[in-house]
């Protein structure tokens, strides 16, 4: 045991003398987590779109254009649109600078054209640098057009009266002719009110809730989801690097020299596996500490999570013990190690959310440590004990260890 600890201590001292590889492997997952979190996290807590900037050019200045302007002034619309009334020259300049999502131009004579039931056009100029917001404006104006057209047709008789009002001074309007027209309009509005007030079809806003899902995901939640996957991926890289001594010592004669001393082969093998395990736990805990301090990650009950970390690091050390027992040399280990780790990470959910993966990927993911660690971490986050993950990682780790030790021992003595 004394010699085992001596070898372990020597390995740790050597790796601490050249810590850059470890530092980089710790920094990369944290940076990636930060970047991915910042890019994909929700922008606001409500999940609503930001107000859409709209420029409104009223060349008509008539009844209908006032109606359109007024429609943007309703409370609901105020939240959705931020309207600026301007002229066409200023509007074009602002659009050029990208200051608005769209510009709506109400042409001169728009009201008259409507009242005389002549086709007319509302012009919507869209900002090409924006993807969705100009379309929202376009859809809104199209709906407005349909509503106005419908209203003009439904009240065609009454509109004639309005047309007369617009032709000349009010004193010249023969009021006796208008009376019956307004009377009809009153009856139509009363009839419509029966159906429109209250509206038969209402709209209720609601979000679906998956079992166990939170109603809203915050920035912190995103980090909590991403970091465990990143951490286990880089744990694999780090432990592989640290345990490469199993090969390098064999290749350059240091293992043979160790075996000329009273040290036993099992002590050398044990020191390397224990070293990979202990250093793996230490590195994961450093990542956890950073995640907590920098990203305010919620890991759940720390005892449960620590247990998961210890078991995952054990699995990793056992896996790379067997891996290094089977490969021939450092070149082969380098060539095979990275693709294996990347495959584990791809199928295991370190690179993308398992829920959006193809079914086949998810099925393969079951044999990866990443999947079990990520699933376990998710359970711990919810305050639950990750029993399945612990059992799978521990049992498969023990099987790997049972295969690795005799193989390494045999190769050490050849």
């Amino acid at each position: 045991m004394r010699r085992l600890l001596l070898i372990l201590g020597n390995d740790v001292r050597r790796h601490l003398k050249a810590p850059w590889a470890i530092v980089i492997f710790i920094a990369i997952p944290l940076l990636m987590t930060g970047l991915i979190g910042v890019i994909f996290a929700p922008r606001s807590h409500s999940g609503q779109l930001p107000p859409i900037a709209v420029l409104l050019v009223d060349q008509d200045k008539g009844l209908a254009s006032k109606l359109i302007l007024g429609s943007f002034d309703v409370d609901q619309m105020k939240k959705m649109f931020q309207v600026t009334v301007t002229d066409e020259v200023d509007g074009a300049r602002r659009m050029k600078r990208g200051r608005a999502s769209a510009m709506v131009v109400i042409p001169k004579g728009f009201t008259l054209d409507l009242l005389e039931a002549r086709p007319t056009t509302l012009r919507v100029v869209k900002n090409p640098s924006e993807q969705f917001l100009p379309d929202v404006v376009e859809e809104f104006m199209a709906t407005m057009g349909v509503m106005l057209s419908g209203a003009i047709q439904a009240f065609s008789e009454e509109v004639k009266g309005l047309r007369l009002m617009l032709d000349g001074p009010v004193e010249r309007i023969p009021w006796e002719t208008l009376g019956p027209e307004f009377g009809k309009a009153q009856k139509k509005i009363a009839a419509a009110a029966k159906y429109l007030n209250p509206l038969l079809i209402g709209l209720k806003e609601e979000e679906t809730k998956a079992a166990g899902a939170k109603a809203q995901s915050s920035m912190t939640d995103i980090f909590s989801i991403i970091l465990p996957g990143m951490a286990v991926m880089f744990l694999l890289f780090i432990v592989q690097t640290l345990m490469r001594d199993l090969l390098s010592d064999r290749e350059d004669g240091k293992l043979r020299r160790m075996l000329t001393t009273p040290v036993r082969p099992l002590e050398v093998i044990g020191a390397r596996i224990l070293g990979g395990w202990v250093m793996g736990v230490a590195i994961l805990l450093i990542m956890v500490a950073f995640g907590t301090l920098v990203f305010h990650v919620n890991w759940g009950p720390f005892g449960f999570f620590l247990l998961l970390v210890v078991v995952a690091a054990f699995w990793t050390a056992a896996f790379f013990a067997l891996f290094h027992a089977l490969v021939r040399n450092r070149n082969q280990a380098g060539a095979l190690g990275a693709p294996i780790i990347l495959a584990f990470s791809l199928f295991g959910g370190s690179m993308m959310n398992p829920e959006v993966m193809p079914k086949a990927f998810r099925a393969v993911g079951i044999v990866t440590p990443n999947r079990w660690f990520i699933d376990g971490a998710a359970l711990v986050r919810e305050g639950r004990f990750p029993l399945a993950s612990l059992i799978v990682l521990l049992v498969s780790g023990l099987v790997l260890l049972a295969l690795a030790v005799p193989t390494l021992r045999r190769r050490a003595l050849v």
Binding site: A18, G253, K254, T260, T261, P262
Partner: protein, 309 residues
């Protein structure tokens, strides 16, 4: 101290050691000479305990060398590979390797300082080994093998690939260690090294010892005569006729052909007289080579090939 009996080791059909036997006394420095593939490294590996599956016995002070792991504390190994950690300094390497032996912790540091002084690396103790020259690395490699004061020191070609100064330094260390009572087995290709360093020399090939003894004892195997090769413009018959009355115990005609002859001369003072006789008989001599007896001659005679073949 060390007794090896009928040690046999094969790699498939290749026999690396063939009923190899050897005795080694305390303070004796044995030089093991042999070409590549002679079995030297296999022997050192078995004695070091890193090779298994052999037959024969090896006893150290009457105890089976491989039955008692603590005996490893009494054996020092200097392998052919530079087997230490390049990223650590010399002192840390010594403390680590010394720690693997049962050197008391209190003595380890003091012993490491002493041994660094012995191999002339005391001034570089805290420097990372990766900055060392090849010769300094060889000396550190030797120091690691000596740190725990072994009773038996095994060195596998410890002077390969280093400059003359470092080589002299290592050979001095080996001589001093032997003089201090440590038994040493030292394998090499270099004849000059064993001539100047070893109290006994064993010549091995194909896994067996062909001859062993002190330098003088080995020279006697080929006799102590100089070999003289004469090239010139002469007929074989005329050459033999010219030296007919000189042939005897001092001058032996080994081979004669047209324009080339070979003689064995026990007294080098006879060579000028041989040349006079050839000139008197008007035999033109264009080249003369005198080969004094040495290990190369012994090796050639025993194995039929040069040491570097």
């Amino acid at each position: 101290m060390l007794e090896i009996k009928n040690l046999t080791k094969s790699y498939g059909d290749v026999v690396a050691l063939d009923r190899f036997s050897l005795d080694l006394k305390k303070g004796e420095v044995l030089g093991l000479l042999g070409p590549n593939g002679a079995g030297k490294t296999t022997l050192i590996s078995i004695l070091a305990g890193t090779l298994r599956d052999f037959t024969g016995t090896v006893t150290f002070e009457g105890r089976n060398l491989f039955s008692d792991r603590t005996l490893k504390n009494r054996i020092g190994i200097v392998p052919q590979d530079m087997a230490f950690y390049d990223d650590l300094n010399a002192m840390d390497n010594l403390l680590f390797w010394g720690g693997l032996y049962d050197v008391p912790r209190a003595d380890l540091k003091r012993r490491a300082v002493e041994i660094l002084d012995l191999v002339e690396l005391a001034g570089r103790a805290k420097e990372p080994v990766k900055n060392f020259s090849g010769g300094m690395k060889r000396r550190l490699n030797t120091a690691i093998g000596l740190l725990h004061k072994p009773d038996l020191l095994l060195l596998d070609e410890p002077t390969v690939g280093i400059d003359v100064q470092a080589k002299v330094s290592i050979l001095d260390i080996i001589r001093n260690v032997g003089a201090a009572g440590t038994a040493v087995i030292f394998t090499t290709h270099q004849l000059a090294e064993v001539e100047t360093t070893c109290s006994r020399i064993a010549i091995m090939d194909h896994g067996r010892i062909l001859a062993q003894g002190t330098f003088d004892e080995l020279i006697r195997i080929v006799g102590e005569r100089d070999i003289v090769e004469i090239a010139g413009d002469f007929a074989a018959g005329a050459f033999s006729e010219a030296l007919r009355d000189m042939a005897g115990a001092d001058v032996e005609l080994l081979s004669v052909a047209d324009n080339l002859a070979s003689l064995a001369v026990s007294d080098s003072g006879r060579i000028p007289r041989v040349m006079d006789r050839l000139f008197q008989n008007k035999l033109a001599v264009t080249d003369l080579k005198i080969q004094t007896p040495g290990l190369e001659t012994v090796f050639l005679k025993l194995t039929g090939r040069s040491l570097r073949d």
